[in-house]
Symmetry: C2
DNA sequence: ATTTCACGTAATAAATAAAGTTACATGAAA
DNA sequence: TTTCATGTAACTTTATTTATTACGTGAAAT
């Protein structure tokens, strides 16, 4: 199953942008995410439309964060990316005529909806600022002698 | 994203088999599941290896349930099918060197693990017998005049 | 016996969707 | 006016699931 890693990708990009003050180009982001600059532009375009980042052309251009890191949650980013399907498993037919299949779907849907609600709730409780702080801790731990 | 609907499929098949006393052929199952008999045999083969169903060749052959419907849970079936990946979204790289990406992964993994645990817990609480009963209710509701 | 039926399985093809790539237009700064 | 960087369309690649074809095995009916 090929999974959608765009949320992971944009988070990675956003944190790098938060670390660096000046704009990062699509090529730079593509390099640290091991992907292609066009893919970066395509994906970051969703965030631009949502006002989370801005892009500028020409010399010293690139991508910058415009939103407040404490206000952007993972859930918002998930929505901005078009709320892609969360699950890789699911019903064979969405609206079956067969009563047997309707029972099966009802049972599975109930479980999936609960799990998705939990996931989105967790996503809504994590902000970019928290991730940036977590990164700062990890970074400090790699330089234990700095006292 | 192409989702794995095998769990849905085998549940559908198992309930049809529970309704009917005699064995159902792969062609019959394929017909009601709108798929191919070879796909049915391939998927049901996992359940046969797990001792949930048996198959017989020749005239009047086909698939039968051997397990107790009250003992088979959706979680067991999920395991029998090889515990396929639950989520369609995930990390870009599983073990990144980049500290930024490690922070991102840690946050996402935590949420995913909680949601998966909830889903599997729900799955473990639903038995084939419960689904069969749910179907019986739906069936009765389509024949309200029967008294 | 032998014909029919149905599963078992390998090998291959088709379908699907994300990701990657190419190409070129737009616009800003040096 | 040259260089740099984004914006986007179109196309290709890649990975994976599902579907299909083909043939083998074995059980039951005639």
């Amino acid at each position: 199953m090929k999974i959608d890693s765009r949320l992971s990708s944009v988070l990675h990009a956003l944190l790098h942008m938060a670390e660096r003050g000046s704009p990062l180009t699509s090529d730079e982001l593509a390099c640290c995410m091991r992907t292609n600059p066009v893919v970066v532009r395509r994906t970051m375009g969703f965030l631009r439309k949502a006002g989370i980042v801005s892009s500028s052309k020409g010399h010293a251009g690139g991508w910058s964060i415009t939103a407040d890191l404490t206000q952007v949650t993972l859930r918002q980013l998930h929505e901005v990316l078009g709320e892609p399907a969360v699950f890789a498993i699911g019903n064979r037919h969405e609206r079956p005529e067969c009563l047997v299949e309707q029972s099966v779907n009802a049972a599975l849907d109930g479980a999936f909806q609960e799990a998705e609600a939990l996931l989105l709730d967790r996503f809504s409780q994590i902000t970019l600022a928290q991730l940036a702080e977590d990164f700062a801790c990890r970074f400090d731990q790699t330089r234990p002698k700095k006292d």
